[in-house]
Amino acid sequence: MVHFKKLVGRILFLFFFNIVTASYLCNAQCDSSEQVYTRKTRPAYTIIGAGAGRLLFRDFETSPLFYKGFKGSLFLGRLRLDKKTEALFDFNSMAAATSNNFNNTFNRASYFSTELYYHRLYRICKLSTNQYNTKAGAAIVSTTNLRINEAFGNDAVKGENITNIMGVIKVSRDISRTSEKTMKLFFIKKKLKIKKRALSYQLNIGLINLNYRSVYPFLYSGDSKGIVRDLMNDYALSMNGYRLGSHINYVKYLPNGNGIQYSYYWDIYNAPGKQKAFQMASHTFQISLLFNTK
């Protein structure tokens, strides 16, 4: 099983390495008739979003049981994109109320998380057409969690950082209505205006997976000013585990250049660390406003 996972990991790494390399090389060969943007002229959006969804996690250090619950999140991002390249930087803050009630032993765990994400993608010409645009590249994502489960006494508060360098592939389809149409449904007749819309699917796969977790519960030194130092004393960095993510985005652009984006995010990671694994999966539906700043 371990060998299988390593093999899969290597194949994925090579797959994404090839895609990134190919996309870089192919970029120069793309259709020269397309509008060329510079960094300054490339369309840019500020994104403000809010999401809700479901989260489950399991920390084998304290419990073999899954804690499940609802989450709410806020999203702030900056997106620059054209047909050839895309850069996204965002900050995501999340809170979740989870619980486990197996065998009528109701226990609650609060879960807070902040995340920084950056990706840069380049078009793969050979996988792109007028309607489909395939981009690939790399992302770095750093997630810091704080979890509180009062049932665990001195182990009630746990925190960790999960940082991943990920291979990214994104397929977008332009589903804009380029000419006015008339819709007829029984006796209803409606004139459909020209609309710019896009649908995309993005897959992120962790290539380098780091986690910074406490190996053992911390020992307090008696110095209240150094409590953070004490807290971090037994943290250790490990490179193991995996992370996967997929995003589906539907963007509807408004006549003024702004847009509304409806998204579904799925994020999952496993961070074994030095001792026992921490695992998390979340599903989020998010609505975002895209403000065109160019």
């Binding site: 304290t62 226990n107 665990f152 006494g153 182990d155 020992l219 008696g222 997929s246 999952i268 496993n270």
Partner: protein
């Protein structure tokens, strides 16, 4: 690949990726889980000379497949009691297992006697501290019920300022079952003039039952607020447990703090929590406390510098307070 990822995205792929849910009510699964957790993390097997392997054989034999939750609780709870440790508990929705070390020894604190004949009249309650002058206002008596009661600087300033002109203080920590170590350091900081190592802690960090990390010092750091540097008699008994045990151990390194009463109950280790596959939770000690010579005797209790016992026949005097007053005057 995209299709596969898409299917994953909409069908809770974590069910495929994560190992299956470990939730289980099976008695053997839960017994083995608890036994292994203790085996891999408990810090006092050697000091307490506990034969954990023999205990497993003895208690596992008491299991049967369709036993009730209540019966399983009794087996697991009794197994944990073999550790003779009040930091070791099993929590279920219907019961909590406790060892109760203080009941294995004579009672040395009676709150009625203290309140009636020492704190009244004129009892003052400031945050977690109950206090008053005693012995013709020559001594300040301060009762601190629990280290769970958060110590606020201004409250402690008020208390220590009130007794600034006394010949000494009595700090009564009998039947104080412990609490948070931050309160220990807040209190210690009022009785020292310089940063002092007062004890060491080390954590079990390996699967071997005697695998520990390095000793890490615990300091008494002088407070920037009001301090009391005259003699302080710290009253202890078998009910002085956990954080109170640590405070008592720390006094061994400080000349102006003297322990009076019975040996403490122990509990120097840090109790850490966890959950069984059936949802019940547990805790047990995963670290050791040691004195400046790195002796681990404290788990069996910190002995008093001046031993004293309560005479329960005398309902008007607290012999331990009287012994402390005698020492101060």
């Amino acid at each position: 690949m995209l299709l596969l990822a898409g299917i994953c995205a909409f069908t809770s792929c974590e069910k495929i990726v994560f190992k299956k849910d470990k939730a289980s009510k099976d008695v053997y699964t839960n017994f083995d889980y608890l036994w292994n957790e203790v085996d891999q993390k408990y810090a006092y097997f050697e000091i307490k000379q506990v034969n954990w392997d023999e205990i497993k054989i003895r208690y596992r034999a008491q299991l049967y497949a369709d036993m009730s939750d209540d019966s399983l609780f009794n087996v697991l709870g009794n197994m944990l009691k073999e550790l003779k440790d009040d930091h070791t508990n099993l929590y279920s929705p219907f019961n909590v297992s406790v060892y109760q070390v203080d009941l294995k020894h004579p009672q040395n604190y009676d709150s009625r006697i203290v309140r009636e004949f020492y704190l009244n009249p004129g009892i003052t309650i400031t945050g977690g501290f109950t206090h008053n002058f005693i012995a013709n206002k020559q001594v300040g008596y301060i009762r601190y019920e629990s280290f769970m009661n958060d110590i606020k600087d201004d409250e402690l300033d008020y208390v220590l300022n009130k007794y600034a002109d006394t010949k000494g203080l009595i700090l009564d920590l009998r039947s104080n079952g412990g609490g948070t170590l931050t309160n220990v350091s807040k209190l210690l900081g009022r009785f020292v003039n310089e940063k002092t190592i007062v004890l060491y802690n080390r954590i079990r960090d390996g699967k071997g039952r005697n695998d520990f990390g390095d000793y890490k010092p615990f300091y008494a750091i002088p407070s920037e607020n009001i301090k009391y540097l005259k003699p302080v008699m710290v009253l202890i008994d078998r009910g002085s447990y956990s954080a109170t045990n640590d405070f008592s151990l720390a006094t061994k390194a400080l000349a102006n703090l003297v322990l009076v009463g019975d040996t403490t109950g122990g509990g120097g280790g840090l109790p850490n929590g966890g959950q069984l596959p059936n949802g019940w939770t547990y805790r047990f000690s995963i670290s050791q406390s040691a004195d400046l010579n790195k002796n681990n005797f404290a788990e069996e209790g910190v002995p008093a510098d001046i031993p004293a016992q309560l005479n329960l026949q005398d309902r008007t005097h607290d012999a331990i307070i009287e012994r402390a007053v005698l020492e101060l005057l």
